[in-house]
Structures are given as structure tokens and as C-alpha cells.
Amino acid sequence: MSLLYKNVKQLVFDIDNFIDTVEQGVLVFKEGVINYLNGEKESFAEKIERIDRLEASADKLQRKIDDEFYRHSILPQNVSDIEGMLDKVDEIIDITKDNLYQFDDEIPFIPKELTNDYIRLVNTAAESAISVFPAARTFFREPLKVREMLAKVYFYEKEADKISRSIKRRLFHEMKDLRQSEKIHLRYFALHIETVSDKAKNLADLLSILALKMSI
């Protein structure tokens, strides 16, 4: 009985804070990519700095939450599931940070004709990730309601897939002026952005299983 009420309160706050941080990370990623596509270099650099800070803060919070769970043997029967779920949440901010850095490092040339497609892709992928966080929060309060909150995540993930595929098709079928290397480079960036929605879908899958497990 080592876990006192105030510790629980702090831990609940930390978990909420962790999810908030990751959610902010996704928004920063979205804005960062749009800044890059619009050629707003200063804003883009500022987003890189912000996502770096947010990712570090999320990692710190996750370690703290892990420690608390194991030190006080909180929810002993569900601890590994919850830890796995928080890992998947953390993967989202990791991938958004990596993606933003890839834009910064590789400086892909994005033709004007594709800018809108990429903006649509990043918006949809981010929307998919943002839709999964309320479900992650709800999991701690009303596990039974989680499943009905995941429909949006799957919808946006499919949309992101479609947009990504259409970008790739346009690249290889219509953009004759581009060099092959440029096409392949751009195709990878579509894939990178699409991965954010894939990660959100993975988290949604896990949440759905956990919710089912909790209801039994």
C-alpha cells in the first residue's frame, strides 16, 4: 500500500501531460511540414526546435511514468499492456520528429504542382494521429467507449494512404520533367508522412484490443 492518493494524482497528471505533449508534437510536425512546403524557413527552423524539446519532454515523462508503475506495482495485471500502449504513443512523436529532421537534412525539392497534395497528405496524416489521442485518454476512464472513438483514426489513415498513392502515381506517371532520382526522393517523403498515420493506426489497433480485454 505504498501508493498514496497524491502520488496517483501526480501520475494521472503525468500521463495526461505525456499524451498532450505527443499531441502537440503532431501539430508542430504538421505546421513544420506546411512551413517547409511554403518555403517559410524561419518558422520551419522554429518548429524543428520545438519538436525536439517536445520529444525530449515526452521521453522524460514516459520514463517517469514507467518508474512509477513498476515502483508501486500499479495495475499489476495490466501494467505491460499500458506500458505497450504508452510506447506506441511515444512512437508517434518519434516518427514526427524524424520526419521533420528528414525535411531539414535532405531538403527535398517539391514541385509547385505537388505542394497542395503534400499539404493534404500531412493534414490527413496529422488528423489521423490527433484522432487517436482522445481514445488513448478515454482508455483510462471509460475503456468500453474506446472502440467507438477509433473510427475516425481508421478513416483518416485510409485517406492518407490514398493521397500518398496518388502523389506517387502523379510523380511517376505525369511528372515527366522530374529526374528519376527526384521522383524517388519525393516518393520517400510521401511515404514518411504516411507513416505517421500508420503509427496512429497501430496505436488504435492496440487500444481496441486493450479495451476489449478490459471489458471481459
Binding site: 500500500m1 501508493l3 500499479i74 495495475l75 495485471q77 475503456p143
Partner: protein
């Protein structure tokens, strides 16, 4: 001191009750590490003692009605019989309950001493053995529904719920321990209350009578069992008995506590009676069986698929086998104590013993004024002549020396018996230590292997993911190349048809300048077809992507030329001869010829498709 010796069997029974039954209360809580063992042991010990002292009298009264064991030796023997039954049946992995063992032992005493067994009381007791688990099941269902509804309606955060469950497990556990003490203390000390009369102690705030003092001692024995041995039971048996969620564990413990409380609360019984309902029988019931009833109740509520119905058979076996075994052991032990140790075991047998002793007294002390009863003398088997001829000193001396010899033999047997018991206990504790060490080793090995399996599973999953990613990547690259190839083909086809069109137009035009311009255009197209940058790029890409494949081909067939390798790479992409011809800007016939040469060089069986052979290479 002698009282403590006689109480030892009851204390042993109390110790084993504490060691085993505490797992019913805190098993899941400690097993799942929701509550620390130290906290659980302290809470359980305190509340078991409180329950025993405050509320233990009710159930004890019913046991007294079944058979009022009136002498210390008989109480010792009855408790020892019950303890041995519990110990032996546990060893044999048979379902056993202290409550049923003590009832059986008392009935054994009744039989031995010709004391009539109160059938009404017996029926009352047996009916509670059956109704206890059923009531436990009913309580469990109701409480489980309640808990489910509360959890559903209140949006409590999982962590707060976890915290509340911990407090809940402790509070409900305390109530369970209190009820266990109140209901089961009669099993431990009940038989001694009729045989031992201690002076009332005034503790200023309240007075403690003889029964309460005995219950305090019994409660301490149970607490000692909880502290010294229940951890082992909680961590091994406790968890396997109740592999339940924390919420279900609270429900099970609470329903068990309620049942034990109901069957031990005089106040509640009186209250029920006051509203015109029949009184509640205050009887010690088996906490394990009530727990099993509660678990089955939850199982039934959930649909009944997970219930192991054979457990019901084992409960029924416990109801029948335990009292019979305890009764038989008690009967033979009483016979032994009565006839070998010449101890008064109460009832009719006390008369026999008293008269034996009186007759013997008369033999040894002829001056005694005691005149034995004729019948009694006959019962002793001592001849009347012996008594009449009291001056026959030789006879007296012989009898006296026989008595001394018997006392020496009995003393020796007793000492030997205790030595054997001590050795047996020592051996058992050693074996137990060994077993627990082995158990620890097994569990640590299990944990280690589980961790290993987990990490292996993770690495396998990672590899599968990686493989999947690589597969996707490969497929994508192949598609990319095919797309590229198709665009080259399309372009070349378009250029060829354009060239043909130019030649056709040229044939109809007479203007010299226009003909020259068309000639130039046709030449440009021909040049573009022969020096196609896209094609070069594609070929470079093909050789880059297929570097490993080309390397393998070179190693296996060193005489292969670059052109042949390129052709093999294109066949690997599943391109047709026409498509390859278009990409390489050669005629399809040339491609066919090259294929034929390649087939010969690779020594491919005529029955095998060349493209398949290359793809599988």
C-alpha cells in the same frame, strides 16, 4: 503449564487455520502485489484476534450443543484428531475443512463416551455447510453486478480505481479476517471451553471471561499461522485458487466475509428473530468452501463457461470424508488416551476411570475408608477376594510394582512418541524448506525463461516487420522499374510511329526544303531511339538494383557477357520479349535469339521456363 500442554493441539489447529485460510482473504491481493504481505499479515492478525474475542461465542455455543467435551484430555484429543485429519488430508491433496474436521471429531467423542448426538444441532450444522457456499455464490453475484454497475456509471480513472481497489482489498480483507476469527475460533478453541475454566480478568474498560481468554489465545495462534506460514500459501495456493481480477477478488472476499459474519453474529440472529423470522444458526463454516461458492457464483454470472464443475464434487467429498475421517481418528485416539494413558475423557468413560482409580486406591491403601461400588469393582476386573484379603502384602506389592512398571513404560512410550514427533516435524520442516527453495528456483527459472521467450518473440516480430518492410520495398522498386520500362517502351513506340508517319508524309511532298526538314526530323528521332538517355538511366538502374543478382550470375557462369546479364535482369522483371526489344531498341527476333543463347549458357532444361529459372536463381 499443563493447560498449555493440553491446549497445544488446539493451538496447532489454530496455526494451520491461520496459515491456510488467510490466503482466502488476502491471497489475490498479495499474489498480485496489490497489497504487501507485511501489511496484509498485520491487518489480518489484528482483526482475526478481534473477531475471535468479540464475536466468537455464537458459533462456539452451537458446537457445545453438539457435544460438550468436558475434560481437558478429551478436548486435547478431539482437537488433535481434527488437526491430524486436516494435516493428513492436506498432505493427501484431499479437500478438507477445519470446521468439518472438528465436528467429526466431536461426534467421534460422542460415540466413544456414549454421549447422545443432538440430531437437530447436527442437521443445523450440516445445512450451513451446504447453504454457506450457496449463500456465498449469491452474495458474489449481487456484489459483482453492483461493482460492475458502479464501474460503468462512474468514470473513474484506471489509476484511481487501482488505488481504491487497494484500499478496498485492505478494508474488505480486515472485515474478512474479523469474520474468520469470529466464525472459525470455535473450531480451534471450542472444545476447550467446556474443559477449562479460567478466572475472569478485569481490564477496567471491560472484563474478559474464561472463554474470551481462550479465544484470545486461539486468535493469537491463528495470527501466528498468518505471520509465519501464510505468505507461502498466498504466493502459491492463493493465486492458483483465485486467478481473478482485483474487482472480482474484492467481491469474493466480501461475500465470504459476509457469510462468515452472518453465521457468527448473535446480534444479527437476534435482530432477525425480533422481526419474526427464524434465528440464524451460528455455526463455524469452511471459509475455503464459501470462497469456492463465491467464485462459482461469479463464473455463473459470466456465463458458466469457465467453471470447473468437478470442484463441486470435491466440496461434496469434503462434506462427507472429513467428518468421517476425523470421527474415526478421534474415536481411536480417545480409546488410546482412555485405556493406555488412563485419562478421563468425560461422559460415561469418566465414571469407568474414576471407579478404576478408586478400586486401585483401595488396593494400594487398605486403610482407605472408601468403599467401592460392587458393580464398579466387577467392571475393573479386580477380583473381590483381592480386596477382602487386603492384608495379603505380597499381592499388594506385586500390584504396586505392576503399576510402577506400567507408569515407566507409558512414560517411555510418551517420551519416545514426542521424540518421534519432534524428529518428524524437524524432517518435515527441512523437507519444506527444500521444497520452498526448489519452488523459488523453479519460479525464478520460469521468470528468466519467460523474459527470454518475450525478448525472442520481440526480436522475431521485429525481424518479421523488417522482412515485410523489405518485401514491400522490393515490390515497390520492381514496380518502379516496370513503370520506368513501360514509359520507355511507350516513348519508343510513339517515336517509331512518329518516324513512320514522317516517312509517309515525306513520300507525298515535293518541296525540297520540307523534305530536308522532314529528313532531319526523322534522323533526330532515329538518333534519339538509338541514344536514349532514359534507356541508359534505366539500364544503369537495373544493374544497380540487380547488383547482387549479377554477382551471383557471374560467380555461377563466369563466361556471361554484360548484355546477357542485362537481359537476365529484364527477364527477372517479367518483361516480355517485345517489351525488352523496345527498351533495348532491337528487334523482338534479336531478343528471342539472345534468349536462346542465354538459355544455352545457363544450361536450362528445355522443359523449364527461362524467366522462372532466372527468378528463382
Amino acid at each position: 503449564m499443563i493447560i498449555l500442554f493440553y491446549l497445544s493441539s488446539g493451538l496447532f489447529l489454530g496455526w494451520s487455520l491461520g496459515a491456510n485460510d488467510a490466503a482466502n482473504i488476502f491471497g489475490t491481493a498479495v499474489g498480485t502485489r496489490m497489497v504487501r504481505f507485511k501489511t496484509a499479515a498485520i491487518v489480518a492478525s489484528i482483526f482475526v484476534i478481534l473477531g475471535a474475542v468479540i464475536q466468537g461465542a455464537g458459533a462456539n455455543h452451537t458446537l457445545g450443543k453438539l457435544g460438550n467435551v468436558s475434560t481437558l484430555a478429551a478436548a486435547f484429543t478431539v482437537a488433535l484428531s481434527a488437526a491430524l485429519t486436516v494435516y493428513w488430508m492436506t498432505k493427501m491433496s484431499l479437500p478438507v475443512s477445519t470446521s468439518q474436521a472438528i465436528v467429526g471429531a466431536i461426534i467421534g467423542w460422542n460415540f466413544y463416551t456414549n454421549n447422545p448426538t443432538d440430531v437437530n444441532t447436527l442437521v443445523k450444522i450440516v445445512s450451513t455447510w451446504i447453504s454457506g457456499p450457496i449463500l456465498g455464490g449469491l452474495f458474489a453475484i449481487l456484489l459483482f453486478i453492483l461493482v460492475k454497475k458502479i464501474t460503468k456509471k462512474t468514470r473513474i480513472h484506471l489509476l484511481y480505481r487501482d488505488s481504491y481497489i487497494r484500499y478496498g482489498l485492505l478494508i474488505v480483507g480486515a472485515f474478512g479476517a474479523y469474520s474468520l476469527g469470529a466464525n472459525n475460533i470455535a473450531n480451534v478453541m471450542g472444545v476447550f471451553t467446556g474443559a477449562i475454566d479460567l478466572p475472569t480478568i478485569d481490564l477496567f474498560l471491560f472484563q474478559m471471561d474464561s472463554t474470551q481468554q481462550l479465544f484470545l489465545i486461539g486468535g493469537i495462534a491463528i495470527a501466528f499461522g498468518i505471520i509465519t506460514y501464510s505468505r507461502h500459501v498466498m504466493e502459491t495456493v492463493g493465486n492458483t485458487l483465485m486467478p481473478l481480477s482485483s474487482e472480482a477478488a474484492i467481491v469474493v472476499v466480501l461475500s465470504q466475509a459476509l457469510v462468515l459474519f452472518i453465521f457468527s453474529s448473535q446480534g444479527l440472529s437476534d435482530a432477525i428473530q425480533s422481526i419474526g423470522l427464524p434465528a440464524i444458526p451460528l455455526v463455524p463454516v469452511s471459509s475455503s468452501q464459501v470462497v469456492i461458492g463465491s467464485i462459482i457464483g461469479i463464473g455463473l454470472y459470466k456465463g458458466g463457461k469457465e467453471i470447473k464443475y468437478n470442484i463441486l464434487g470435491s466440496i461434496s467429498l469434503g462434506w462427507i470424508a472429513t467428518p468421517i475421517v476425523a470421527g474415526v481418528i478421534a474415536f481411536f485416539m480417545l480409546f488410546f488416551v482412555n485405556n493406555v494413558f488412563q485419562k478421563d475423557v468425560g461422559g460415561d468413560r469418566s465414571l469407568i476411570i474414576n471407579q478404576n482409580e478408586s478400586a486401585l486406591e483401595m488396593v494400594i491403601n487398605p486403610d482407605s475408608t472408601f468403599v467401592p461400588d460392587e458393580n464398579a469393582i466387577q467392571n475393573t476386573g479386580i477380583k473381590k477376594d483381592t480386596l477382602v484379603n487386603a492384608n495379603n502384602k505380597k499381592r499388594i506389592t506385586t500390584t504396586n510394582s505392576d503399576y510402577n512398571l506400567l507408569a515407566i513404560i507409558l512414560g517411555t512410550v510418551l517420551v519416545a512418541f514426542f521424540i518421534v514427533i519432534i524428529f518428524l516435524l524437524h524432517y518435515l520442516s527441512k523437507a519444506d524448506k527444500k521444497r520452498s527453495l526448489l519452488q523459488k528456483q523453479i519460479s525464478s527459472n520460469e521468470k528468466r525463461y519467460l523474459l527470454k521467450i518475450e525478448s525472442l518473440e520481440k526480436s522475431v516480430k521485429d525481424k518479421i516487420h523488417r522482412q515485410e518492410d523489405l518485401g514491400k520495398e522490393l515490390k515497390f522498386r520492381q514496380n518502379e522499374m516496370v513503370t520506368m520500362a513501360m514509359s520507355i517502351i511507350h516513348k519508343n513506340e510513339f517515336l517509331t510511329s512518329l518516324k513512320d508517319e514522317i516517312i509517309r508524309i515525306k513520300a507525298n511532298i515535293r518541296d525540297h526544303e520540307t523534305r530536308l526538314a522532314l529528313n532531319k526530323l526523322s534522323l533526330m528521332i532515329t538518333q534519339d531511339l538509338s541514344i536514349d538517355r532514359d534507356r541508359e538511366k534505366f539500364q544503369m538502374h537495373i544493374s544497380e538494383q540487380n547488383s547482387n543478382f549479377n554477382h551471383r550470375l557471374s560467380e555461377a557462369f563466369p563466361s556471361m557477357t554484360e548484355n546477357e546479364k542485362r537481359l537476365a535482369s529484364m527477364l527477372r522483371l517479367n518483361l516480355s520479349s517485345k517489351e525488352i526489344a523496345s527498351i533495348l531498341n532491337i528487334s523482338p527476333k534479336s531478343v528471342e535469339m539472345n534468349r536462346y543463347r542465354l538459355r544455352k549458357k545457363l544450361k536450362v532444361d528445355p522443359k523449364v521456363n527461362l524467366s522462372d529459372f532466372i527468378r528463382e536463381f
